[in-house]
Symmetry: C2
Subunit: 452 residues, 2 copies
């Protein structure tokens, strides 16, 4: 049998795990610095927890787990009583009653709803776990991928948005990725819809605006016309887009929008929120064409784009009013952000931003010259590890060349040799692969060399 991997999944070898771990550790440490607390939920949830939360298309992309005992209907359907019951509709559980999680937000909402009596609010949680989607695999899109979320629930304060934007800026500074944080507010989009005839137009308008980058203004207008917007509305929307696309300061854009929105309360509210947030940051960009797909957002929406590289957003989020309402616990507002770990990895790989040390698995290998030197080698290993220096003895006393090749392939910067001569002189020969230099020294000297 020739083994293979399921479509859309990946093995992560040592170097990739280290690089991914570097990204995740950086994000985790910033989350902790800002007072966020870790949460982990199971890989699978009850089917009904997930179904209906991601739209009809989403439902289809959820991986369902087969109930046990139903595996082989084609071989013995007649003999499989459990399976016959499923077919006759007598088994209410059907074929499946569990499913792999599709994102981290719904399981988080389920957790908050289940535990809201015990949770101290505001609850600031972060969650870094894999999720699964039965999407058609393609470049950069996988069926298993890691999500990395931070949310605050139980507080309406815009200060939470400020903290989350700081988290974005701090993480990407640490990872050395230049980014723009783009900011909008659903209330501004609601204001625009109000000017165009009513809130019920919001979805149509935002879907059209969201495509501006891809299809251009003419096709956006065409789509708006087809969807039943009159010329007056289209003219308002175009005026809005003209304001949005000027190369001017955030303050100037917001000033012009304020005039335009002077008669819509909700629009002015959105602008006031944007004003508050942008005065706190120099590097954040107001982009009122930003829509974001998820319907549960109600206030701030934001997205992070990497600069100087052809790549979609590497982070996004927003404010929602009532996520846990889905699970019978209303009135817990929240705001959250998410990091696109796979794309961040791709940016860093392409721009060679990973620290070199991540390549280096082990600091030093002791060459194995046979049993006679084992005792001394073990003493050296013990001494190095007591100093927290990673090291290993090649396990077999095979040819020197082969051992050297192993050390090179593993990117070890040093090897040490203890043979007859070294044993007699009570020293160790240490070779530095970078400089090519080889030198005899005692254990203390060797430790300070490796630590330096």
């Amino acid at each position: 049998m020739k083994p293979s991997l399921p479509q859309g999944t990946r093995d992560f070898g040592p170097e990739t795990v280290r690089k991914r771990q570097y990204i995740l550790d950086t994000i985790r440490s910033v989350f902790e610095l800002y007072g966020f607390q870790p949460l982990e939920t199971p890989a699978f949830e009850n089917l009904e927890t997930l179904m209906g939360k991601y739209g009809e298309e989403g439902d289809k992309l959820i991986f369902k787990i087969l109930n046990n005992g139903l595996e082989r209907p084609e071989k013995h359907a007649a003999a499989n009583e459990d399976f016959k019951k499923v077919l006759e509709g007598k088994n209410v559980k059907g074929l499946t009653e569990r499913a792999l999680k599709y994102d981290l937000t719904i399981p988080f909402a389920r957790y908050v709803a289940m535990n809201h009596g015990q949770i101290t609010f505001p609850f600031k949680r972060y969650q870094i776990q894999p999720v699964w989607r039965a999407d058609r695999p393609q470049r950069g899109r996988y069926r298993e991928f890691t999500q990395c979320d931070a949310d605050v629930v139980g507080s309406q304060s815009l200060f939470n948005e400020i903290e989350l934007i700081h988290i974005y800026l701090e993480v990407f500074k640490k990872l050395k990725i230049n980014v723009t944080v783009c900011l909008n507010n659903r209330k501004v989009l609601a204001g625009l819809a109000t000017l165009c005839g009513g809130l019920e137009k919001m979805t149509i308008i935002t879907i059209a605006i969201d495509k501006l980058d891809k299809i251009g203004i003419d096709k956006v207008n065409e789509e708006l016309r087809q969807r039943g917007n009159d010329e007056a509305s289209i003219s308002i929307i175009n005026q809005y887009l003209d304001i949005a696309q000027q190369e001017v300061s955030n303050a100037e854009i917001l000033k012009q929008l304020k005039t335009m929105f002077k008669d819509t309360t909700i629009g002015l509210e959105g602008i006031a929120e944007l004003e508050y947030l942008t005065t706190n940051f120099e590097t954040v960009k107001v982009d009122v064409t930003l829509a974001r797909g998820l319907n549960y957002y109600t206030g701030t929406i934001l997205e992070v784009k990497p600069l100087g590289i052809q790549m979609g957003s590497i982070g996004g989020g927003g404010r929602y009013d009532d996520l846990t309402g889905l699970f019978g616990v209303p009135n817990i507002p929240g705001v959250g952000i998410s990091f696109g770990v796979d794309r961040i990895y791709d940016v860093m790989d392409e721009k060679a931003l990973f620290p070199n040390e991540l390549n280096q698995s082990v600091k030093i290998m002791l060459v194995n010259f046979g049993e006679a030197f084992e005792k001394r080698n073990m003493e050296v290993l013990k001494a190095l590890r007591a100093e927290n220096i990673s090291c290993e003895l090649f396990p077999d006393a095979i040819k020197f060349d082969k051992q050297l090749k192993y050390a090179n392939k593993r990117n070890m910067p040093f090897i040490a040799m203890i043979g007859e001569e070294e044993l007699n002189e009570d020293c160790i020969s240490v070779k530095n692969f970078n400089s090519g230099e080889q030198k005899k020294m005692n254990l203390t000297e060797m430790i300070s060399l490796l630590k330096g």
Copy 2:
């Protein structure tokens, strides 16, 4: 809808995640110190990669993933063409072609078999990931749990065993858990089987011996008799068990076994291996009644038992000759160990071995006295975070009491207050919850207090 969790699964709240992370980080750091490299494989594998690897019972406990599009046969079987094909045996993929991984060993073997051309051998890998089993949930047994393995493949040297035993000892020393590492060798059990009439008796004999602790010697003998062992064999086995159970040194037990095994080459080989390993450790115990269930073990087998607590083994492993042979790549020998993370957690929780700091999520909270103080609060946050001190400002300017309660529930050791007075005096009032002391200080003083 009232939300719930699937049977046998768990949410891990902040405190539990931190404690689990502490265990995993400790193990990971020791793995790295010993030159092991991380590997991660997908949550699900192709069904045929897993099926038939864990015995008939295991096959039933593997969670299979339903192929997409087959979800609701009871509702519309007639209309679902894909599903009809499954029933008629025309869809070769059947209901399922993917399954959640059941352990880390088979996916590792699959990885090595798939990549053996690129891998530098000996390959020392560690892997820390969840696995899933459709076992009936009960106390301490879950359907999703974390495994934590280290294996060396591509080397027959017993030095690998020495390293792995050191890893066990070092990890449990760091975690402050007192343990005994019990050691045996399959070749010793093979020697016993040879003395009793032939190697084919090995499984029956080891299964019976394995039960000694639970059912006692009389029932073991009864079982041996029922399984077709003659009185001569039973007498040999009893002699073996008598030697095994003496309260004497490892050396003495091995000496007596050597006499008993003088005519079986394989038995003597096993004893020689045990001798080599035990001379390197003072704290390892030879236990030749140790059998371990997995049939793929061929040499060393070992198990770790916690002392002073009623609990099964918290780690185990052994040597195997040909794991990747299952996937068409023969002759890659290996040896590995595994940590039982859930049981380790239970031991540490019961014995209160977790460091206190794990309870402490954030170092300090700034009390929110309203907008007038926001700017100063933000400056302080920024300064603290630049010093890597975790902190937060309560996001809403609600009643002081409520903010205090939040800080207490989160186990924060300090709060800071900046009101009118502090603003005027350019200072900060800092309260230490442990001592109850409250003091005015400047930012520099505050930072050194929090870092001290």
